[in-house]
Amino acid sequence: MTPEEWEIIALSLKVSGVAVLLTLPVAFALAWLLARGRFPGKLLLDALVHLPLVLPPVVTGWLLLLAFGPHGPAGRLLADWFGVTLLFRWPGAALAAAIMALPLMVRAMRLSIEAVDRRLEQAARTLGASPAHVLRTVSLPLAMPGLIAGAVLGFARSIGEFGATITFVSNVPGETRTIPLAIYSALQVPGQESAVTRLALIAVLLSLAALVASEWLARRTGAGRGGHVL
């Protein structure tokens, strides 16, 4: 492993970690809304959330470029108010990964929220719990294995994110060149086969580690009632 490769791994972990942390509250809110809400336009919201799953990633990247580029509405807003630009920078890569991970996270979380027995929530209400307290002490703990599964799925998806990232923030070494982009770059240059192998192995190991960690966490949170992610 060369220092550059370590840097690539660290960057990938940073981008994916930030992407998941950023998406977690948004995904949970959307999952809750889709699982429990009854409102006009629910089908449309459902479709919008799932769009990144079915669009070609390059199209998602291009849409991000339109919105967050120097002339895009969101991009101008960020530049004027915060002096921030996402283009060619790692927060942009994190945003691309977050958008791509969102549908997977929402799906897993929604299923686990729908599986929560609402009669238990009712029982908690009659025992004196406010709706917020029911959420904290009954709904969230019961949905936890699914929430963890969603977060891990999102993390794994972010580690593997390629198309939207390279379209939106390009392939800048040390800034947006995550593991998949580095593998792609190495494949363009003759004689880089060993670097490709090493990076590919790292990608496999990271994904496996995420899955094992999630299973372990789900077992802990599901203690006594046997919750599983896998």
């Binding site: 009669r119 238990l120 009712q122 029982a123 209400r125 009659t126 025992l127 004196g128 719990a129 006594g224």
Partner: protein, 207 residues
Amino acid sequence: MSFEIAVARRLGSAQIALDLRAGPGLTALFGPSGAGKTSILNMVAGLLRPDRGRIAVAGETLFDSAAGIDCPPERRRAGYVFQDARLFPHRRVRDNLLYGWRLAAPAHRWMTLDEATGFLGIAPLLDRWPRTLSGGEAQRVAIGRALLSGPRFLLMDEPLAALDMPRRAEIMAVIARIRDELGLPILYVSHDRAEVDRLASQVVTLG
């Protein structure tokens, strides 16, 4: 009057209506399955909103459509015992029992954990997980959880229905003791004549 209930509610194609005034002791709502007995309990607990009417328990108005009163379930101080015990699967028996007790204002608590476990004979179960309990054990814990939340009245929805015969007799004795020793007004739903004859101070027939 312990229970004053005059409510109407449309559920699908069925119309549920009840006008009831009940004294102290155990009032049985008796009738066939599907007559809306559980819906009545849910309305008293605040889990189902009547289309119109008034619900008062021990002189306190919990719901009154004309006056715009609709007390949320967590403030009605109802001890609701469901047909399926509905214990929280992610909490041990002890934490199930103390769930409502911890939420109750200290002045509203009238039973301690020790008293409840002694009364119901569930002290050996405290560290168990709900999924390891038998039906009768789970129902005792559910009754204890309701009593410990410091309720002003109890709602019981066929609490014996899921139990086998020996367990039934056991839990029925517990309910008779609650009625006689604790003096709480109880609204009790059943479709079993023998159960009602044994327990009820007053019977209201539905359906």
